[in-house]
């Protein structure tokens, strides 16, 4: 759990310590080279990856990406993107565990193809079965408090609510819900999806979120490498601000310069 003024302020997920609070997606970059540079610039805690059928060319694209992951030397967070049923998600997770040799899984269970909204009714059961199968589950979810609580109840030691639907870049469309989640849940929270600007990331970190997961906002920037750096700095700034403890906003003005000793006081 996050605490103010922690002198050991590192991301702790399922008992593992990470030295970054930014998780980075690997899709939609202009080239593998740009992706690699963005990784080097942001030094993310984890890189998300997926599994798909090999297409033409004997799996060259897959092999190239595999080599890039090994070169990057960053922990991999496989996802279950595109899965619509619990069994699809579980089977995909098991396949990912064998290929990537990791128990981490970003659980995506899509309930609506148009909005890519998670299937909130199936998500707890899927998470429950994966956790019982030994996975460290990071579920992609909406910002619904009760749903997130149910995910915690089945053993999720972190949850990943969206800020907005995947790829929209809108930033938090429901600040009240995200802030309520932070107040109510005593586990690491990672905002996944919907962030478009570094200021969006900084904002949720200021609210006490533990990390952010980004992809499109970096990959589709005109200069993805520079944007990766901007997000890295924003995440760090937001975290520092949260740990520093912000002042309370107020309606009445308070002069910052002392009034006592003001020259020419009422002489005009």
């Amino acid at each position: 759990m996050t605490t103010h003024a922690s002198h050991l302020d590192q991301l702790n997920l399922y008992g593992e310590i990470f030295h970054s609070r930014l998780l980075l997606g690997t899709s939609r970059y202009p080239s593998p080279s740009v992706l690699l540079q963005a990784i080097e610039r942001s030094k993310p805690a984890m890189l998300t990856a997926s599994l798909r059928r090999q297409t033409g060319g004997g799996g060259e694209a897959s092999q190239s990406f595999w080599n890039l992951l090994r070169q990057a030397n960053v922990p991999v967070l496989p996802n279950t993107a595109g899965c619509h049923s619990i069994q699809e998600a579980i089977t995909t997770a098991e396949m990912a565990r064998e290929v990537f040799e990791t128990d981490w899984i970003k659980l995506e269970l899509i309930g609506d193809d148009y909005t890519l909204q998670p299937d909130t009714l199936k998500l707890p059961e899927a998470a429950d079965r994966l956790i019982k199968a030994g996975f460290k589950v990071l579920p992609y979810t909406t910002d619904d408090l009760v749903l997130c609580q149910r995910l915690v109840d089945v053993g999720c030691q972190a949850v990943m609510p969206w800020a907005a639907p995947i790829g929209t870049g809108k930033g938090s469309i429901n600040p009240y819900a995200l802030r309520t989640l932070r107040e109510r849940l005593d586990i690491p929270l990672i905002v996944d999806a919907g962030l478009g600007l570094p200021s969006h990331a900084c904002q949720v970190m200021e609210w006490g979120y533990d990390a952010v997961l980004l992809n499109t906002a970096v990959a589709l920037a005109q200069d993805p490498v520079r944007m990766a750096g901007a997000f890295t700095d924003a995440v760090s700034a937001g975290r520092d601000a949260y740990c520093a403890g912000a002042m309370q906003s107020q309606d009445s003005v308070q002069p910052s310069t002392p009034v006592l000793g003001t020259p020419f006081w009422h002489q005009a």
Partner: protein, 70 residues
């Protein structure tokens, strides 16, 4: 009847294999490059079981490999 070849799907493409063929045989026919993982009829099959896993008619095999993801 038992000598009839197997009609199977690998990544939704139709293949014909001899009766008694294993998942390892299907993987060889598909020609996928490692790394990959396999599932038959939506059930994961660990790599160490490919040789022993005997296929049945109309089995649906998925062979999937790493790719970028968000």
């Amino acid at each position: 009847m038992s000598d009839c070849p197997l009609q199977i799907l690998i990544n939704q493409m139709p293949y014909t294999l001899p009766q008694g063929a294993s998942l390892a045989d299907a993987v060889a026919v598909a020609g996928v490059q490692p790394p990959f993982a396999a599932a038959v009829n939506l059930q994961f099959v660990p790599r160490v079981q490919y040789d022993q896993y005997t296929l049945a008619n109309h089995d649906k095999i998925e062979l999937i490999s790493p790719i970028t993801g968000g």
